[in-house]
Amino acid sequence: MPNIINSLYNMRLLDDLARKETTIHKLHPIVKLLTTLVYLSVVVSFGKYEIGSILPFIFYPMITIVLAELPVAPIVKRILLVEPLIIGIGILNPFFDQHTIVLFGVVISRGWVTFLSIFIKCGLTVTASILLIATTGMEQLGVALRMLKIPKIFVLQLLLTYRYITVLIEEVSAMMRAYSLRAPGQKGIHRSVWGSFAGQLILRTFDRAQRVYQSMSLRGFTGEYNTGNVPKVKLRDFTYLVGWSVFFIIARIFNIPMLIGLLVTGVIK
């Protein structure tokens, strides 16, 4: 039950955040989508032993969060919910990597380095995806996908799925609440009603799809999903994409923290 309510809350929160009107929100959706894709590819392209040189990539989510005035806590919470899965796989690295390294006189398995590297990458990539949706919103993202020549049917279906998720989650939570009130102390749905419980939901779903279709037809639906006027890509949008891409590529080629560190320790000496 808490799982369902959390999901619903999470989706509505991101939906609300996407309606803000900050500098980032006003950017063209396609620019935000492309920047995110460049960011993800560059972050993921780092070798498995790299830690230091990935750090400058925290800059992008940081700036986006501040400029888009997004709350930090829900995003961090989401990352923490996903990280255990990565930890589950990554924690095995120290056991399987037989090589050891000496760092300040301490001998550790090189697997810890790869583990930390995966951990950081996971945090960054998950944040980037969530920031994309929190600053763009599903409808606008649909516009961006259409501009990238993703077929109309797919985008349409994606937007409809998104729209009806909240409706059906509410339906499921009502059904599960009713069930749990009739079966107190029972964990999950009993085997004897597996079929009828989920099957009922499907039947309701089909009926609802029928009603949805009828009401859509009444409002003039002809297979076209109108998303309002599509904004044009302005110079500002273009600069945003190019600016970040250049930064990502520079940070990929040069180890920025090392250069800064060298500069500082050199000056001190």
Binding site: I4, F96, L156, L168
Partner: protein, 365 residues
């Protein structure tokens, strides 16, 4: 009890590969393969598409999404399982619409919940949608139900197709993770971990799928008949999808084997392909200077730590060859100082911007 519950949950979620575990090359190839299958599916459903089917697909996607949150208690274990939904979609909507619906569910999950990433999107759609809709459904499910539908046949069909679809998906996850080379888990060990877990998950998935389909068949048989009839038109083309996938696999296999034997990470590999060198050569002047500073000082200079093999007797030859300049504590101090400074600088910039924003909003107010 909790522990078992977590294990089932985790098993299901491993199927959603994260961006951090794949390399850009593997992600890109799988994205291309998925796009190919999706384009073909769209073409196929356009033929028998009335505008009625789009809302149905949308609402069914939402159904699977919410049905994944139902806990089905597994008898005798005290734990509960969840529905994956790939088979249900294929059975109720047919393979093409089922595949597309799965693709949109995974897109939303990646964006809103961080379950599986955008780069790993191709992998995830393929692992969870392709094997169920285009292999398990036409080759196994249809085989069982060809001679007419009975409750027993539905059960056998759902169970075996869910099991096999999930096993193939799990194997695919292992293969993609292995080829990406981000984890150290040996291929064999990973297989021994994944396949049995997904055998257990597959049994639950098969049971749940079977009971739901039997229920629907009893309550509203016309729904199943309708999707089965649509299949009559799709039977020939499934062969084509398989041929297409086979070609994709052969091409991918060729690419992968080159990639795996080069034993380098994704970007370096693609650089090697495009420029003939494993690392891009920076032009002269400032780049050269910066480059030489970087190679001299890199905190983790291109994989070469001061490595000493645990069992020093069996020091592999490549390890010796690969061991670059050993890092002295001086440069690693610079590395750590630099790292801390980078983070501080980031935090500071963020702080300044938010300060400026607050000031601005005050002025406006």
């Amino acid at each position: 009890m909790r522990c078992a519950d977590l294990r089932v949950l985790k098993g299901a979620d491993i199927m959603h590969m994260a961006d951090a575990l794949i390399s850009p090359v593997v992600g890109g190839i799988m994205l291309a393969a998925t796009a190919g299958v999706a384009t073909y599916s769209i073409k196929k459903i356009q033929n028998d598409m009335d505008d009625k089917k789009i809302p149905l697909m949308g609402v069914m996607g939402a159904f699977i999404f919410s049905a994944q949150m139902i806990n089905f208690s597994i008898p005798g274990t005290g734990s509960s399982g969840h529905l994956g939904g790939g088979m249900i979609l294929a059975i109720l909507l047919g393979p093409y619409a089922g595949f597309l619906t799965m693709a949109s569910i995974l897109f939303i999950q990646a964006l809103f919940f961080g379950d599986g990433g955008l780069l790993a999107y191709g992998c995830n759609v393929f692992n969870l949608g392709f094997y169920t809709c285009f292999i398990a459904y036409p080759l196994i499910y249809k085989c069982f139900t060809r001679k007419g539908i009975t409750a027993k046949r539905i059960f056998g069909a759902s169970m075996s197709s869910a099991l096999i679809g999930l096993q193939m998906g799990a194997f695919s996850v292992v293969l993609e993770t292995f080829l990406s080379g981000k984890t150290e888990i040996p291929f064999g060990t990973f297989i021994l971990m994944m396949q049995p877990i997904h055998l257990a998950i597959g049994v639950v998935e098969g049971f749940v799928t079977a009971t739901i389909v039997i229920f629907i068949w009893r309550a509203r048989p016309e729904i199943l008949e309708k999707s089965a009839n649509l299949e009559a038109l799709g039977n020939v083309s499934i062969k084509r999808v398989l041929t297409g996938a086979l070609i994709a696999v052969v091409v991918m296999g060729g690419l992968f084997s080159g990639f795996a034997s080069a034993n380098s990470d994704g970007l370096e590999w693609s650089m090697e392909k495009t420029s003939g060198k494993s690392e891009l050569k920076a032009p002269d002047g400032i780049h050269k200077t910066l480059r030489s500073i970087q190679t001299k000082t890199a905190f983790l200079p291109d994989y070469s730590f001061k490595t000493k093999v645990a069992e020093s007797k069996e020091k592999p030859a490549d390890q010796i060859g690969n061991a670059g300049p050993s890092i002295n504590s001086g440069t690693s101090v610079s590395g750590i100082v630099g790292g801390i400074l980078t983070l501080t600088l980031t935090a500071f910039t963020g702080f300044i911007i938010s300060l400026l924003k607050k000031k601005k909003s005050k002025v406006n107010a």
